[in-house]
């Protein structure tokens, strides 16, 4: 059972995540967008959207720190366990709280503002459900497990997570983790599997290239391309 939950499920979800994105990008470039609803309503959005997005960016960076950086590294640069713990809980709780409030505002907006609701797809609804679950569980872990319990995820969950990518499998690390962490992890992998098929793909379009590209883009007609769409494989021009 542990193997299924903590080895098979992660690999299946990550595979879907990667292959799904490749497929979606090839099949559906036109559908690859943020699907912004700002045109319909901007009063609530102005409040909720930055709150949520900046919050979740901070949460993401926190996860990079917590999951990606081994405990030995932070201790090597002189950050003791207790300092790290206080920092992580404080920053994590604030960021998580912002994310949650922002998300609550956005979901409220999506449900109550008529045009926004009618522009919501089934995929959106499923995604919101999973995303909200992940965020609530994560915040609950930060608050409950760190304030009341004493589980050092950096010696359990983090090690297990990093080793997934090294094909060094340790399902027992996850099986020993508290229930909250287990659920959060499972929900997160669920979200990864759902990711390529939702509007979340816009995360990978974060326009960082804007900072370096020239302002005006010139483009010539592409002599290699026939017509307004990319030729199918095997039908490209030969010269």
């Amino acid at each position: 059972m542990d193997v299924v939950l903590w080895v098979v499920v992660p690999y299946v979800c990550l595979t879907v995540f990667v292959v799904g994105h490749v497929w979606r990008y090839r099949y559906d470039k036109f559908g690859w967008t943020t699907r912004s609803s700002q045109l319909y309503e901007d009063r609530l959005l102005r409040l909720g959207s930055p709150l949520f997005h900046f919050g979740i960016l901070a949460v993401f960076l926190g996860h990079v720190m917590g999951l990606g950086v081994p405990k030995s590294w932070t201790e090597a640069v002189g950050v003791s366990e207790s300092v790290y713990h206080v920092l992580a809980v404080a920053v994590g709780a604030v960021a998580g709280f912002c994310t949650l409030v922002g998300m609550a505002i956005l979901i409220y907006r999506r449900r109550t503002v008529g045009p926004v609701f009618s522009a919501t797809t089934k995929m959106d609804k499923a995604m919101y459900l999973v995303l909200a679950t992940v965020i609530v569980l994560g915040l609950a872990n930060t608050v409950i497990a760190n304030v009341f319990g004493h589980y050092d995820y950096r010696e359990g969950v983090s090690v297990w997570f990093r080793r997934i990518f090294r094909f060094d499998l340790h399902p027992e690390l996850m099986a020993e983790a508290p229930l909250g962490f287990q659920l959060h992890g499972l929900a997160a992998f669920g979200l990864f599997a759902l990711w390529p098929f939702t509007r979340l793909v816009h995360v990978f379009s974060a326009p960082l290239g804007y900072l370096t590209r020239p302002y005006i883009v010139y483009r010539s007609r592409d002599d290699q391309q026939l017509g307004s769409h990319t030729p199918r494989r095997g039908w490209e021009r030969t010269r």
Partner: protein, 550 residues
């Protein structure tokens, strides 16, 4: 010198009667789809008026276009790259639907379905956004012909600029129409604002387009464009804008708005310009000098040095010849009667306007004086300061002198040509008074009054050897693409997702599909018919009462 060719347009505002044919045909050709109900690539505004979207010219509020920073360098008025990324989650300067209008249709079914009753049934307006009953309060041309202007025209940002003490009576004597399309600027701020780099300027003809595959819906172009001519398709989540009808231009046809213009007031042609000098011209310190600066960027296509450089830049010979015959070059640089719209936005717009003289003529005529006498007209141009200042705010960043000169030239042409038409001895002093020769004046008259189709539209087609690279020419089977013939409707991730369809097939399939499936809000549910899209064939569901079974 780096020679580039630009497809440009000039509109003669004297001839615009405000019939909106250009807007309607453009809409039928390009934006009759769900998600673009409020999108008008071409719109006609009554001036004075607020424009579309409302008060878009108030750049202190909307922050479109460029401005100079303290060091005299160009920067985006809406903020630089970092600020754009910081406000990407909620663009604070993007107009909302309220600033455009809530599009609607009518509940036509009640007209045919209603049972016999005492009162005539009424087709109620239904919002195309929410699908609910709505109260119509504004539209793309709500203040058409100054309708309701007593209440709203005071919001006109141009009017507010010229004087606080303007009495509103002048609008009754000074009203004109301003048809607007995308300016296809030499220095487009929409392209500069696009975080994804999806908006590009075509190197061959300067047409500014949105790559629908690369657009990610960040909405920065909408606020970046000072003319508010990039629109957000709220169903596909992508930006859309006027394409200068590039599939038509590529085969040598004028744009739909020009082709259908009743007053024949639009001119299309090539302009050659020096791409190396665009930035310098756009950074001209004084707003008043921008008109001259932009004119100086254009090159004389008859100059052998320019022709040589153009050939070196790979511009085909017949394109250079077309540039030499271009009515745009003649109106802008030879006769100097065309002016750019809001040069102070520093985007170097490429749709120019001949300001209207007819309001001035009307004023003179109303006084009972001879409205074709050049002295009366010149005196009226002198006297009508406020209208002239208004035109100057539109076309020369408030500098009255160039507008004055243009109007004098048009007035001189009017009285000079009257003598000719009445068989009298032409008076050479009239053209001389505005610095033109008699021959030039006659040529200008020909171009403004008589020019036929092929003189108004000098459009060199893209080259036959490039034919296969053209975006619309049917050199391959139109139905030969993934999903097969007749694919239409929605992919799995919302409207329009999936591989792009060739334009021609899309229109065919979409019209076929929408004929039966366009509901008020969502196109997937049946029941409502968009009469605009119904071509009279077939029996769309909901349009006719159910047939009696035999």
């Amino acid at each position: 010198m780096r020679v580039m060719a630009q497809m440009a347009m000039v509109m003669n505002l004297d001839k615009c009667i405000g019939c909106h044919t250009c807007s309607v045909t453009c809409k039928q050709a390009w934006t009759n789809r769900a998600g673009t109900e409020y999108v008008w690539f071409n719109n006609v505004e009554t001036r004075p008026g607020q424009g579309y979207p409302r008060t878009y010219e108030d750049q202190e509020r909307w922050k479109g276009g460029w401005e100079l920073n303290r060091r005299g360098r160009l920067k985006l008025k809406g903020g630089g790259r970092l600020k754009k990324l910081a406000t990407i989650f909620s663009n604070p300067i993007m107009p909302s639907l309220k600033d455009y209008y809530e599009p609607w249709t009518y509940d036509y079914a009640t007209l045919t379905d209603a049972p016999a009753q005492e009162h005539t049934p009424v087709a109620r307006p239904k919002s195309l956004i929410s699908g609910k009953d709505m109260k119509i309060e504004w539209s793309a041309n709500w203040d058409d012909n100054l309708g309701g202007s007593a209440a709203t025209a005071a919001n006109d940002p141009v009017l507010r600029k010229i004087s606080d003490t303007v009495k509103f009576e002048f609008e009754q004597t000074f009203m004109f129409y301003l048809p607007r399309i995308c300016e296809h600027c030499l220095n487009p701020s929409c392209a500069a604002s696009c975080p994804s780099g999806a908006i590009y300027k075509r190197a061959e003809d300067g047409i500014v387009l949105v790559d629908q595959d690369r657009c990610r819906g960040w909405r920065m172009c909408v606020s970046g464009c000072p003319y508010k001519k990039v629109y957000f398709n709220h169903r596909t989540g992508k930006a859309e804008k006027c394409t200068f009808c590039f599939p038509r231009i590529e085969v040598g046809l004028p744009t739909v708005c020009s082709e259908t213009c009743v007053g024949r007031l639009r001119y299309i042609g090539l302009v050659l310009y020096d791409a190396d000098r665009v930035l310098e011209a756009a950074s001209t310190p004084d707003d008043h000098d921008l008109y001259e600066a932009q004119r100086s960027v254009f090159l004389d296509p008859s100059d052998p040095a320019v022709v040589r450089e153009a050939e070196r830049a790979g511009i085909p010979r017949d394109w250079v010849e077309a540039a030499q015959r271009s009515p745009i070059h003649a109106l802008i640089n030879r006769y100097k009667v065309a002016l750019p719209l809001h040069p102070e936005y520093r985007t170097m717009p490429m749709v120019w306007y001949i300001p209207p003289l007819s309001p001035v003529v009307d004023v003179v005529r109303d006084t009972g004086e001879d409205a074709e006498d050049e002295r009366n007209l010149f005196a009226a141009i002198e006297a009508l300061r406020i209208p002239i200042e208004y035109l100057a705010e539109l076309f020369t960043a408030g500098d009255v002198a160039p507008v004055d000169a243009v109007l004098r030239r048009l007035a001189a042409m009017r009285s000079y040509m009257r003598d000719l038409n009445l068989g009298r001895e032409p008076d050479g002093s009239i053209p001389a008074a505005v610095g033109m020769s008699e021959e030039e004046m006659y040529d200008m008259y020909r171009l403004l009054a008589l020019a036929k189709y092929d003189e108004r539209y000098v459009i060199p087609p893209a080259h036959a050897e490039q034919a296969h690279a053209l975006e619309e020419l049917a050199t391959e089977c139109a139905l030969d693409y993934e999903g097969g013939p007749g694919m239409g409707g929605s992919g799995p991730f919302g409207e329009g997702s999936g591989t792009p369809t060739p334009i021609a097939v899309e229109n065919f399939a979409m019209l076929k599909d929408r004929q039966t499936s366009d509901t008020v809000a969502a196109p997937d549910r049946s029941g409502r018919v968009n009469l605009l899209n119904w071509d009279g064939k077939g029996t769309p569901q909901g349009l006719f009462p159910p047939k009696d079974e035999p």
